[in-house]
Amino acid sequence: MADDVTARPTRTDVAATPRDTARAADRAPRSAARAAGGRPRASVTVEWRKRLEILFFVTPALALFAVFVVTPVLQAVRYSTYKWNGLGPMDDFVGLQNYANALRDQVFTGAVTHNLIIIVLSIVIQLPLGLAIALLLNREIRGRAAMRVIIFVPYVLAEVVAGVVWLMLLQPGGLVDAVFDGLGLSAAKQLWLGNPEIALYTVMVVLTWKYLGLAIILFLAGLQGVPTDLYEAAQLDGASWWQVQRRITIPLLGPTIRTWGFLSMIGSLQLFDMVWILTKGGPANSTMTMATYLINQGTNRSLYGYASAVAVLLFGISLVLAALYQYFVLRRDNQDAPKPRKVQR
């Protein structure tokens, strides 16, 4: 989506240019004429006034954006080349040493691996499950509207709130253990968040609970855009339900699925809140993500230069994966001349 989003307005601009220029050319003399009785000099005043207006409207947002987004991002790059604890002068320039240290630290490379596992599992688990539930809810069943609301509830809860509830559910002797006992599977019980072997997968289950609703809602929206006549035609041709889904619904849902995949990937790379609440990255760093590692090194240990290098690495990895996704997956959507995406609007 990254390039998608940046590219599209630009494309609109390009597309709009000839018409807009014509319109502007058409409007300029008229407004100038109105402002100053047709004398050519006055158009300069109009130009200045327009510039002032633009400045007036854009400046607040631009200033806020520059101070609180652009500056910190650039600062992160600068800090990353220093050894600095956040106090006193920043004078210990170490070049790329922080980056080298991060890449050599097995806790960090482990964190990168965990983020990648989370991306893969998110897509492998949530895509089929989300599709199945979306197809289910797209049928005319009683209480469908209520189901749509219910399914979205976990997504609306703060990650912290959801995390604390799951912390209680997963604690030894909690509801999850009780369910296992009830099913006669007491032997399968685990220290769900305390066992380094499985803690990451436990976190994954909670994340699935939290974010499956988003996938379902987006897929449902995409399904609204599938033209009904296609289904009717398929029915006339005697296609089975499964054939209809496989040949019509899922291909037409392609753009929605691919965009969701992108959102899911970016979210997985930034993952912090849920892990911080459930495990703080433990036990034995088995659930450490890049973001929890960053905060751990930065604020808890005051290694601000090092943490900034981690932040830049996190950004770089996100950017590379986003570009790869764009190139290999989203490109299809941007190239297709008659976009299926248009249908959904």
Partner: protein, 297 residues
């Protein structure tokens, strides 16, 4: 799965068959398996939430002895304790104020910036638009360390502004990306008519564009409010003083301070859920539309 049928199920009131419902469906329901599956999904989704709410009505002894089932007897003391504690209300108040400040800044600054980007012709417009959309690529995580130090140096730590200003700044890109096409879609004729009637472009903004952009503003406002209400990382670093902390921070610290008191934690957490759930139910359409809009760009 049942064979797709075009005719509605018999016995179904015809009144309910609005065109929209018929359009979106590929088959009629009625298959019991479909209902079973829907029930399972609903139970898995709501189960943890209901467990938390009901768990708040139990004692810890009850929870330990019988984790499943209804409270017996119902214990209200957990909820009473939370509702009579000053800290819960302070967290809720802080969250409300910070979210409102964030939302107002985002909506005002966002619509102001989106206006020239949508409806003025000027050199650098495309570039300026790109600058803001590029902001979508910068996650808070990347900037969090310098931001934390900057807020500290500005003496804004432990203040509402220290959280609201950065949150608003990071919400601006999405806001402008959503609002710009919205403002572009307003008919050109409106603007020309207003100009002919002698309104300046600024007057057009205040008197015509702003009232008309209500729905778009509500969407971006809701998104900004929810994001701010749920935020954890930035408040965690900026708000170390308990008197300034927000509800998510309160939930986190309550749960770690009362780790043994499961019922108390569940009551506290359940109450913390309520504002988000009520707000969501009231704004469901807007939130869903906003997210879909975000996905479609």
């Amino acid at each position: 799965m049942s064979a797709p049928a075009v005719t509605p199920a018999p016995g179904r009131p015809a009144v309910l068959e609005t065109p929209r419902r018929r359009r979106g469906s590929s088959a009629t329901g009625g298959n019991p398996l479909v209902y079973v599956a829907a029930l399972v999904v609903a139970a898995a989704t709501l189960g943890p939430v209901l467990y938390a709410i009901l768990g708040g009505f139990r004692s810890n002894a009850q929870l330990a002895a019988e984790p499943v089932g209804l409270p017996d007897p119902w214990v209200v003391s957990n909820y009473v304790n939370v509702l009579t504690s000053a800290s819960f209300w302070r967290y809720a108040f802080n969250s409300t104020v910070i979210s409102l400040i964030t939302t107002v800044i985002v909506a005002v600054f966002g619509v102001m910036a989106a206006y020239p980007l949508a409806r003025y012709q000027f050199r650098g417009r495309a570039m300026l638009t790109t600058v803001f959309t590029m902001g979508l690529l910068f996650p808070l995580t990347v900037a969090i360390i310098p931001l934390f130090l900057m807020i500290r140096d500005l003496n804004l730590n432990n203040t509402f502004w220290g959280v609201a200003l950065p949150q608003a700044a990071f919400a601006l890109p999405m806001t402008i990306v959503i609002l710009r096409p919205f403002l572009m879609a307003l008919p050109k004729e409106l603007e020309e008519a207003a100009m002919i009637d002698g309104t300046s472009r600024v007057g057009f903004f205040w008197r015509i564009l702003l009232p008309l952009s209500g729905p778009g503003l509500v969407t971006v406002g809701v998104l900004a409010f929810v994001a701010s209400w749920n935020a954890y990382l930035l408040p965690l670093l900026i708000l170390s003083d308990p008197t300034t902390q927000t509800l998510p921070l309160g939930v986190a610290s309550f749960s770690s301070e009362h780790a043994q008191d499961t019922a108390g934690v569940l009551a506290f957490t359940s109450l913390a859920m309520i504002p988000a759930l009520v707000f969501f139910l009231a704004m469901e359409k807007r939130i869903v539309n906003g997210l879909q809009g975000a996905v479609k760009g």
